[in-house]
Amino acid sequence: MVIMKKRFNLVMIVLAVLLFIAMTVAVMIGSVDITPLIIWQVVLSHFAVDLGAQPTSAQAIIIWEIRVPRVILAAVVGAGLAISGAAIQALVRNSIADPYILGVSSGASVGATSVILLGAFSFLGVYALSTAAFLGAMMAVSIVFLLARVNGRTSVVRLLLAGIAISLVFSAATNFMLMTSKEEGGIKAVMHWMLGSLAGAKWNNIGIPIVVFAIVFILLTICYRQLNALLMGEETAATLGLSIEKFRFVIIVLVSLLTGVLVAVSGSIGFIGLIIPHIVRMIVGSNYKYVLPMSALIGAVFLVCADAFARSVISPEEMPIGIITALCGCPFFIWMLRKQSYSFGGGE
């Protein structure tokens, strides 16, 4: 355990440095070339620190108004999806679960599609898309949770199966809207949304994701002992003094809120919630005291890099980020699958 702790501290420091570098480089990348010194001059000038560089006003606007919020959102979405995945895997005690298993992404897709194609919630203006996506996500999760609850007890298998069933129903609704729509542009916009994009990041819409992420991260980290106990199975968790029903409910609410908010601003970016917790467990084992903070950092680094890549690979066009996360993540995941020393939460 001492070894684990040392390794954890070391890896966390390396990751923090990596995140700093990745975020700086991600701000540099784009059609306008910018040096790191100018970036930090612009950023720190908002905190009354002068590094002595002289950015032009165009550079200042591009950096502060466009690229910085986007990179911050990438970090928050990556971190948030990763910890949501880790928490869900503990909740259902199954390592193939991801944050969308309870229906969040398919619910959000219905909301987003109805806004894009049918013009629902148009009275909300620019917030219509995020609001509808969030409401759709919450609706799907609530139905899943109610379906999984019988006689006041939530069964894990029922939760998983209800999640799959409701996801299918909501996907069918999305597909129906897509099939009956005649708007080419709208259909493409829906596809883009479903594959995820951080292009919409602005200072005024990244506040909520940051705050919700911070709250959920802190609450989950506080509960790391309970999450560990839950991994031991229901019976053992109960004998260790956990009130399972209450705790499960809290975790479901926290994770759904967080993923709902993230999906609302970024679309349903896949793969991070599934793969990052596995990478983390390979490094530090399954103790959630370590798993949660490290998932957050690796998730952040991964998505910042993926987004930078998505912006630059076919510029001036943007690649949907979901394609990048799957393309880069899969080979790595397959390599992990072949490794003997890691059990994937499969026991022996």
């Binding site: 355990m1 070894i3 684990m4 005690r93 390592s95 506080i222 509960c223 002992r225 309970q226 560990n228 106990a229 991994l231 031991m232 199975g233 019976e235 053992t236 109960a238 004998t239 260790l240 003094g241 956990l242 009130s243 467990r281 084992g285 399954s286 103790n287 890691y342 059990s343 939460g345 499969g346 026991g347 022996e348």
Partner: protein, 259 residues
């Protein structure tokens, strides 16, 4: 200190436990014996608050256990259940440290005291040398001892064990029984091996078809007639020269009929 009052437990229409009453004295070592399907595990699960009885009460220190907060109960009763598959990667020490869970407040860190208790419990269960090993790589017997160490780390007044000697070789069976016998706390254990039960328990409760048939000292409960009634097996009894407790030899039908 633990009073079981008119407990019954039904699964759908089937009555698994039928009006069971018994009480457990502080500091005693109670053995629960009975054939497969007699309700031993179910009765234990009712005692350790995992199954809520359909009728009746379990009272601990004059309090209904279902009216106690989960956490408080976990400070009073620790459990070594029959199977505890751990499917995620934890080291032995991390697992034993989990026994401290009910003692920790939300923001509390693991203190020197917690780590000292964990070291002690690992030493007691003879697994100190495994501290940094992955649990999933251990043998069945080692896993069982880790589970026992985790239960000990809960520092409870009552320890409930469901067939703790399963999967253990003879040496570790005796070692484990010696260990729990030496603890100054109340022990309730479901046991398959009647000779172990006879040698270590102060009192035995014999269950059959979900009802208590006999409750008494090993000398009282383990007689040829009663064993025949409960287990439908013929036995030859003697007195163990060392423990002075009953020693049971089973006779299979084949040898009895001289074939």
């Amino acid at each position: 200190m633990l009073d079981i009052q008119h407990i019954s437990y039904d699964i759908q229409d089937k009555q698994i436990l039928k009006d069971i009453s018994c009480s457990v004295q502080k500091g005693s070592f109670i053995g629960l014996i009975g054939p497969n399907g007699s309700g031993k595990s179910t009765l234990l699960k009712v005692m350790y608050r995992y199954f809520k009885p359909s009728n009746g009460l379990v009272v601990m220190n004059e309090q209904d256990i279902w009216k106690m907060p989960e956490k408080q109960y976990a400070k009073e009763v620790a459990v070594v259940s029959q199977e505890s598959p751990v499917i995620f990667d934890f080291t032995v020490k991390e697992l034993v440290l989990m026994g401290r869970t009910p003692h920790k407040k939300l923001f509390a860190r693991d203190t020197e005291e917690d780590l000292r208790i964990v070291e002690e419990c690992m030493a007691l269960a003879d697994i100190a040398h495994l501290a940094d090993r992955q649990f999933s790589n251990l043998s069945g017997g080692e896993k069982k001892r880790v589970t026992v160490a985790r239960a000990l780390a809960q520092q409870t007044d009552i320890l409930i064990l469901d067939e703790p000697t399963n999967h253990l070789d003879i040496e570790h069976q005796l070692q484990l029984m010696d260990l729990i016998h030496s603890l100054p706390i109340t022990i309730i254990a479901a046991l398959h091996d009647l000779n172990l039960a006879a040698a270590y328990c102060d009192d035995l409760i014999a269950l059959k078809d979900g009802a208590v048939h006999y409750h008494g000292t090993p000398d009282e409960v383990l007689t040829t007639e009663k064993i025949k009634e409960i287990f439908r097996v013929d036995t030859v009894l003697s007195t163990d020269p060392v423990t002075k407790r009953p020693h049971i030899q089973y006779m299979s039908k084949r040898w009895k009929e001289g074939k």
